[in-house]
C-alpha cells in the first residue's frame, strides 16, 4: 500500500490555491485594499481596521474609537442645503472633546468635498507640518468621535462618507501600495508553477530530442550536439540570464524560453548515455534489422525507456528554474506587470519593507519559493525511486 507522499498533497494544495481559489475571489489583486504596509490582521491589536460610514444631517455620526491613530482618512461626497448657508462647516470632535473644523461649507447651496489626509492642503488646514501624516490630532485617544455638519441653514441631503483605510488587513497584510499580500501570494503560485513547469518542459523536449538523436545516430550529429552542450555549459547561468532578460525584454514567455534554453544540457547528457546502451539492446538491433525507421524506433521504444528517469529529471529541474526566475526578479529583471514571488521580494526591498519593519512582505514569498522547491525535490526523488527501485532505501539519498 503506497503512502501518498506529503509533497504530493502539498502540490495539490498549491495547485488548488493557485488556480482554483482565485476564481472565487473578487477583485484584482493589484487593487489597493487598505493602508500601505498594513500589518496582518492577526498581529496588530492596536492598529485600527478599515472603517467606512456616512455622515447624516443633524446629529451627524458618532463612532467608538479604541485603537491607535490610523494612517489615512478621507471624506468625500456632497452636502445639499435648503438654501445658501451663511456659515456652515464640517466638524470633528475628538475623543478628548476637542472640536476641529475639517472644512468650511459656507456660501454654496451644494458643497462637494474631497478631503484626504494625503493632501498637503488638508494637513496645512489642520495645522500639521507637511511631513506629519499622523492623524493623532484627530484621534487623540480612546473614546467616541463625532463628525457633524453644522450650518445655519437646514441640510436637505448628505452623501458624505468618511473612510478610514485599515492598518490591519488579511492574512499577510498589505504592501507599499496597499495591495493584499495574500492575494499577491496566490497569484505568485501560479506564475512560479507556470514558469517552472513550462521552462522545464521546454528544456526537456530539447534535451530529449538532442540526447536521443545524438546517442542513437552518433557521428557528426552527436559530435555537434555535444559541442553545443559544452558551449552552453561554459556560459555562466545567471549572467547570461541577466543579459538576455535585459536585452530581449522581460516578458514572461521570453523568460520561460530563456530558462528552457539554458537548462537542457543535463537532460541531454543523461538521455544520451541511456540511448547509447539502448541502442545496443537486442530487440533494438532486431528492429533495425527488419528495417524500422529511426524515428519509429526512437519514438515508440526509446522514449518509453527513458521516460521514468525523465519524469524524475523534470521534477528535479523545476526548483532550479524557480530559483533562477526568483533571482532575476529580485534583481529587477523580470516583467513588472507579472506578480511573481521574486518580484514581491524585489519590491519589498525597493519600497522600504526593511525600514518599515514589514516582515510580512518578506517572509511569505521567500518561504513560498522554498516550499515549492522542497515539494518538487521530494516529488523528484519519489519519481526517481519509482523509476529505479535500486535507489530506494538507505537513507533516501
Amino acid at each position: 500500500m503506497r503512502r501518498f507522499r506529503w509533497s504530493a498533497w502539498a502540490l495539490l494544495l498549491l495547485l488548488f490555491s493557485g488556480f482554483v481559489l482565485p476564481l472565487f475571489l473578487v477583485g484584482d489583486p493589484r487593487e489597493p485594499v487598505a493602508s500601505p504596509f498594513a500589518r496582518p490582521a492577526w498581529v496588530g491589536r492596536n492598529q485600527p481596521p478599515a472603517l467606512a460610514f456616512s455622515v447624516p444631517p443633524g446629529e451627524g455620526k458618532a463612532f467608538a474609537w479604541s485603537w491607535d491613530a490610523p494612517r489615512g482618512l478621507s471624506v468625500s461626497g456632497e452636502v445639499e442645503f435648503a438654501g445658501v448657508p451663511g456659515a456652515a462647516r464640517l466638524t470633528w470632535e475628538t475623543p478628548s472633546g476637542e472640536i476641529l473644523v475639517l472644512a468650511d461649507l459656507s456660501g454654496q447651496e451644494t458643497a462637494t468635498l474631497d478631503l484626504d489626509a494625503r493632501d498637503m492642503a488638508f494637513r496645512a488646514s489642520l495645522g500639521l507640518s507637511p511631513f506629519d501624516e499622523s492623524l493623532e490630532g484627530l484621534f487623540d485617544g480612546r473614546g467616541t468621535i463625532r463628525v457633524r455638519i453644522e450650518s445655519d441653514v437646514p441640510v436637505e441631503k448628505s452623501s458624505l462618507s468618511v473612510r478610514i483605510p485599515g492598518d490591519r488587513w488579511g492574512l499577510f497584510g498589505t504592501d507599499q501600495r496597499g495591495r493584499d499580500v495574500f492575494r499577491l501570494f496566490l497569484a505568485g503560485i501560479r506564475v512560479s508553477l507556470l514558469v517552472g513547469v513550462l521552462a522545464v518542459l521546454v528544456s526537456t523536449v530539447i534535451g530529449l530530442s538532442a540526447g536521443l538523436l545524438g546517442g542513437y545516430v552518433g557521428g557528426v550529429v552527436d559530435a555537434l550536439l555535444m559541442r553545443a552542450v559544452d558551449v552552453l555549459l561554459s556560459i555562466p547561468l545567471l549572467p547570461i540570464l541577466m543579459v538576455l532578460a535585459a536585452l530581449w525584454g522581460k516578458g514572461l514567455w521570453q523568460l520561460v524560453l530563456i530558462l528552457g534554453l539554458f537548462s537542457w544540457m543535463g537532460t541531454a547528457r543523461t538521455v544520451r548515455s541511456m540511448t547509447l546502451s539502448f541502442r545496443e539492446a537486442p530487440y533494438v538491433e532486431a528492429l533495425r534489422a527488419i528495417g524500422a525507421p529511426t524515428f519509429y524506433i526512437l519514438a515508440r521504444h526509446g522514449v518509453p525507456t527513458v521516460l521514468p528517469l525523465l519524469l524524475a529529471n523534470i521534477a528535479l529541474g523545476v526548483p532550479g528554474v524557480i530559483l533562477s526566475e526568483a533571482a532575476l526578479a529580485y534583481l529587477g529583471l523580470s516583467d513588472p506587470r507579472v506578480i511573481s514571488w521574486g518580484r514581491m521580494l524585489h519590491e519589498a526591498q525597493s519600497f522600504g519593507a526593511f525600514t518599515t519593519g514589514a516582515w510580512w512582505l518578506l517572509l511569505p514569498p521567500g518561504l513560498g519559493i522554498a516550499l515549492l522547491c522542497f515539494v518538487f525535490m521530494d516529488l523528484g526523488r519519489a519519481l526517481e525511486e519509482w523509476a529505479d527501485p535500486r535507489l530506494k532505501g538507505g537513507g533516501g539519498a
Binding site: 555535444m226 559541442r227 559544452d230 558551449v231 555549459l233 561554459s234 556560459i235 555562466p236 547561468l237 545567471l238 549572467p239 547570461i240 541577466m242 543579459v243 538576455l244 535585459a246 536585452l247 547528457r269 544520451r272 548515455s273 526548483p319 530559483l323 526568483a326 533571482a327 529580485y330 534583481l331 529587477g332 529583471l333 521574486g342 521580494l345 526591498q349 526593511f354 519593519g357 516582515w359 518578506l362 517572509l363 514569498p365 521567500g366 519559493i369 522554498a370 516550499l371 522547491c373 522542497f374 525535490m377 538507505g394 537513507g395 533516501g396 539519498a397
Partner: protein, 325 residues
C-alpha cells in the same frame, strides 16, 4: 594523449570564440545606445553627434566588430560608457572585493560541508546524518538572496550587530589590525550567509559519495583483510572520494560567481557581480560585455582545469574518449 589535449584545448578555444562573437552581437543588438539615452535639453543634436564620435558608434558594424576582436584579445574592453574609464580597470578595481568575499566563503563552506558530510556518512542512520540530509535539502531550496535578506533584517536592522552595508566603515579605522578587523566585521554577514547556504549541498554530496565508496568492492576486500575502521576510512575511502570531490570543487566555481551577483546586491558590496548588474541595467555595453566575457573565461578555464587535475588525483581515469557523465 597529446591528441586528446589538442582536442580539449581546441574545443575550449572553439567555445571562447563562439562566446566572443555572440557577446558582440548580443550587446550591439540592444536597442538604443548610450548617446540616445542622454536626455538633456541643452544637448543639441550636434553635441550628441560629438558624443557618438567619442564612443565610436558612428563606424560601420563590420569595422566595429574587427576593432572589438582585436581589443578583446588584449583584454581591452574599451571604455565604460558610464564612467569613461577602461572597463578592465573598473573590473580589476572591484575584483579584490569579490575575491575577499568568495574565496573565504567557498573554502569555508567546502571544508565545513566535507567535514559534516564525512560525519554523516560515518554515523549512518543516526541523528547526525538526518540533520545533515535536512541541511542539504534546505540549502538547495531556499533562495539565497532571501536568506541573506532575512539575516540582514535580523542582524543589522533589528539587532544592530553587523553593519548595514558596504565593506568599510566611514571613516575607515587607522592601523593595519583595526582596518582588518573592520573589513572582517563587514564581511561577516555576507560570508556567513554564503557558508550557511553552501555547506548543506556539499555535506550532502560528500556524504553520498562516501556512502557509495564505502560500499564498493575494494572496501569490502580491505575490511576482510582486517584493516581498522579508521585507517579504512582515511586511508582508502577518502582517497577514492577525493578525485570526484576536486572535480566538483572546480566545476562549481562558475556557480559561485552567480552567488556573487546576488550577495553583492543584498549587502551593497563594491564587487564585480554588482558591476555586471549595474552595467546590464544601465545599458553600458562595453562594461557588461567585458564583465560577461571574463566570467565566461573563468568558467571555461575552471572546466579545463578540472579535467586536467583529475588526471593526477585519479590514476584510473586516463585520457580517452570523453564520456558523458
Amino acid at each position: 594523449m597529446r591528441g586528446y589535449w589538442a582536442r580539449r584545448l581546441g574545443g575550449a578555444a572553439c567555445v571562447v570564440a563562439i562566446v566572443l562573437v555572440a557577446n558582440f552581437f548580443l550587446f550591439r543588438l540592444m536597442p538604443g545606445d548610450p548617446v540616445s539615452t542622454v536626455l538633456d535639453p541643452r544637448f543639441s543634436p550636434q553635441a550628441k553627434a560629438e558624443l557618438e564620435a567619442l564612443y565610436g558608434l558612428d563606424r560601420p558594424l563590420a569595422v566595429q566588430f574587427l576593432i572589438y576582436l582585436e581589443r578583446t584579445a588584449t583584454f581591452d574592453f574599451g571604455l565604460s560608457f558610464a564612467t569613461q574609464r577602461p572597463v578592465l580597470d573598473e573590473i580589476l578595481s572591484r575584483l579584490p572585493n569579490t575575491l575577499a568575499l568568495l574565496v573565504p566563503a567557498y573554502l569555508l563552506s567546502v571544508l565545513l560541508g566535507t567535514a559534516l558530510g564525512v560525519l554523516a556518512a560515518r554515523r549512518r542512520g543516526r541523528a547526525a546524518e538526518k540533520a545533515v540530509l535536512s541541511a542539504g535539502a534546505i540549502s538547495f531550496s531556499f533562495p539565497s538572496f532571501f536568506v541573506q535578506m532575512v539575516l540582514l533584517l535580523v542582524f543589522a536592522y533589528v539587532f544592530p550587530v553587523f553593519p548595514l552595508r558596504g565593506s568599510l566603515s566611514i571613516p575607515p579605522p587607522q592601523g593595519t589590525w583595526p582596518l582588518l578587523a573592520d573589513r572582517v566585521w563587514h564581511l561577516a554577514l555576507p560570508i556567513g550567509s554564503l557558508v550557511l547556504l553552501g555547506f548543506g549541498g556539499w555535506a550532502l554530496t560528500v556524504r553520498n559519495l562516501v556512502v557509495k565508496v564505502m560500499g564498493e568492492d575494494f572496501m569490502v576486500l580491505a575490511r576482510a583483510k582486517g584493516i581498522g575502521e579508521r585507517r579504512l576510512f582515511w586511508g582508502h575511502a577518502f582517497r577514492a572520494v577525493l578525485p570526484p570531490l576536486v572535480t566538483l570543487f572546480l566545476l562549481s566555481l562558475p556557480g559561485v560567481v552567480s552567488g556573487a551577483v546576488l550577495t553583492e546586491t543584498v549587502f551593497s558590496l563594491h564587487g564585480v557581480g554588482r558591476f555586471l548588474l549595474d552595467s546590464v541595467l544601465g545599458q553600458d555595453y562595453p562594461a557588461a560585455g567585458g564583465a560577461f566575457y571574463l566570467l565566461t573565461l573563468i568558467t571555461v578555464a575552471s572546466n579545463l582545469l578540472a579535467d586536467f587535475l583529475v588526471q593526477f588525483t585519479d590514476p584510473r581515469i586516463r585520457t580517452g574518449e570523453r564520456t558523458s557523465t
